[in-house]
Amino acid sequence: MTALWTLAKIVWLEMLRKKEIYVLFILLAALLLALISLDVYGLGQVTGYVKEIGLLGAWVLGWILAVNTSVRQLPQEERRGTVFPLLAKPVSRLELVLGKWLGSWTIVCGATFCFYAATWGVTLLRGGTFAPAVVVQAALLHAAALGVVAALGIALSTRMNPDAAAATAYVVTGASFLLVPRVPALLVTSKGLSGALLLVVYNLLPHFELFDERRRLVHDWGPAHGGAISGALLYGALLTAVFLLLAWIGYRKKKFSRGDIL
């Protein structure tokens, strides 16, 4: 367990040094401040659009961070040659995969919660608020979604270079976000082969819509049923475990040679 936290800590330090998080945070803050500068007929206390756009920003920026951070962790160690001293220490390949995932996931979650805090702060400035119980639920579900994305990124990076892994992760997660929730409606008109393909997509790709509580947050629907939240969290944990298992399978016998690196 100590090895996992040490590996995770390296990821955090690297992320803090690279300053990507600050840049994304500043982008979101600029967007939110521009939004609250708008005077909508002097109506005041109109905060729905600020919440909506702020949370959309948190989702999009969290997604970008999760993919970009996770896909470069293992290839970076291999390129720098630091994978050799790492594996020479009593650190197994499974621990390396898990540690890199843990570091990527936790740092991205931290950044995403900062995005939530920024959105909440700007909403408060405008005279609105969020229901705290729903924020907790939404943040938990969002963290589960980021865990899945980070695990997918790590799994892809075991067999691809960072650019290819990032592109594939964006396509898979983008399709999951946008296409999978629409499949039941598309199946009303799609029959035959296209219908069968849609069903395969529906059952194979992750259902990220189950981690998205923005409707409850923005439109004050109140907290969701505890059973649904636990179910979605379990589903997220299961997906993460599957992707991490695939990552380990892809990495455990991978051969590195100093010649390739140089």
Partner: protein, 285 residues
């Protein structure tokens, strides 16, 4: 393992702070700039080109979603009973509900964005005015929106019709008559004259104008306009009865004023007649 957190982030913070300041100033200054002319593209036009129409339509749709508390229009699904769909039903509720009272103010920014993206989206202006007037009880703001809509779309009869309706509601009948005459002269404008909505609008203009003639005791002109309106929608029996009463020289049972005030009166409830039908359909499915 020896990595340290670099504190050399101040230039980034400087850039960010400058950016935030610039963005805020742009938003403040934009409100103070002279309004764009109808033929000007504006910032949205320059940035987006023709795609601004699609963006505006999308933002207009977003306003409707906000009226329905974030729930999009009902869509038939091939299945709704698997674990994913049941869990999704709890995470993202899809019950048919409406924003009420001050909640309706949340609709307005999206309509404002829609009109900024495409200043010729007259429907967005009209819906903004409707919600400001009926939902938020701010007829002053609604009037301002309609004047802006007219300035940007001077040849669109729908704005004049809406302004005429507002004047009738406020009891200013002479300006209302002038606006309705102007609306009739511009009908159908760029719209298809055979379109049901433009037909409805024409019948509405004719009926309002006929009642305004009746106020003045000019029954012959009122009868002619009622007949024109009836020609468009022959099933409107109250018009038939009105024409018969006026032609017979009888004092109509209901005064023109009370009928007209009932006709122009609107409430937020009429905004979603289709919604309940959708709800019924989804339940029966």
């Amino acid at each position: 393992m020896t990595a340290r957190f670099s504190t050399n982030a101040w230039p980034w913070f400087g850039v960010g702070a400058g950016w935030i300041l610039a963005a805020s100033l742009v938003c403040r200054l934009e409100a103070k700039l002279p309004p764009e002319r109808p033929d000007e593209q504006g910032l949205a036009g320059l940035l987006l080109g023709s795609s601004r129409h699609a963006l505006s339509a999308d933002l207009f749709e977003k306003a409707d979603v906000y009226f329905h508390k974030g729930v999009e229009h009902f869509e038939r699904k091939a299945f709704t009973n698997d674990w994913f769909q049941r869990t999704l039903g709890d995470i993202a509720p899809a019950t048919h509900r409406h924003a009420e009272g001050q909640e309706t103010a949340e609709i307005i920014p999206w309509l404002e964005f829609a009109t900024r993206a495409d200043p010729h989206n007259v429907e967005a202006f009209l819906v903004t005015a409707f919600w400001l007037d009926t939902g938020l009880h701010r007829p002053d703001l609604a009037g301002r929106v309609l004047l802006e809509a007219e300035r940007l779309n001077p040849r669109d009869y729908r704005v004049l019709l809406e302004r005429g309706r507002f004047e009738i509601e406020s009891g200013r009948f002479d300006p209302a008559a002038a606006l309705l005459d102007a609306a009739l002269s511009l009908w159908p404008g760029s719209l298809d004259p055979a379109d049901r909505q433009s037909q409805l609008d024409k019948a509405e203009i004719l009926t309002y104008r006929a009642f305004l003639f009746e106020f003045k005791g000019r029954n012959a002109e009122a009868i002619a306009l009622f007949k024109n309106s009836l020609a468009i929608f022959p099933e409107r029996t109250y018009l038939k009865a009105r024409i018969a009463e006026l032609e017979a020289g009888k004092e109509p049972e209901q005064s023109a004023r009370s009928l007209l005030s009932r006709l122009v009166k609107r409430s937020p409830d009429i905004a979603c007649k289709a919604g309940e039908e959708e709800e019924d359909r989804s339940e029966s499915d």
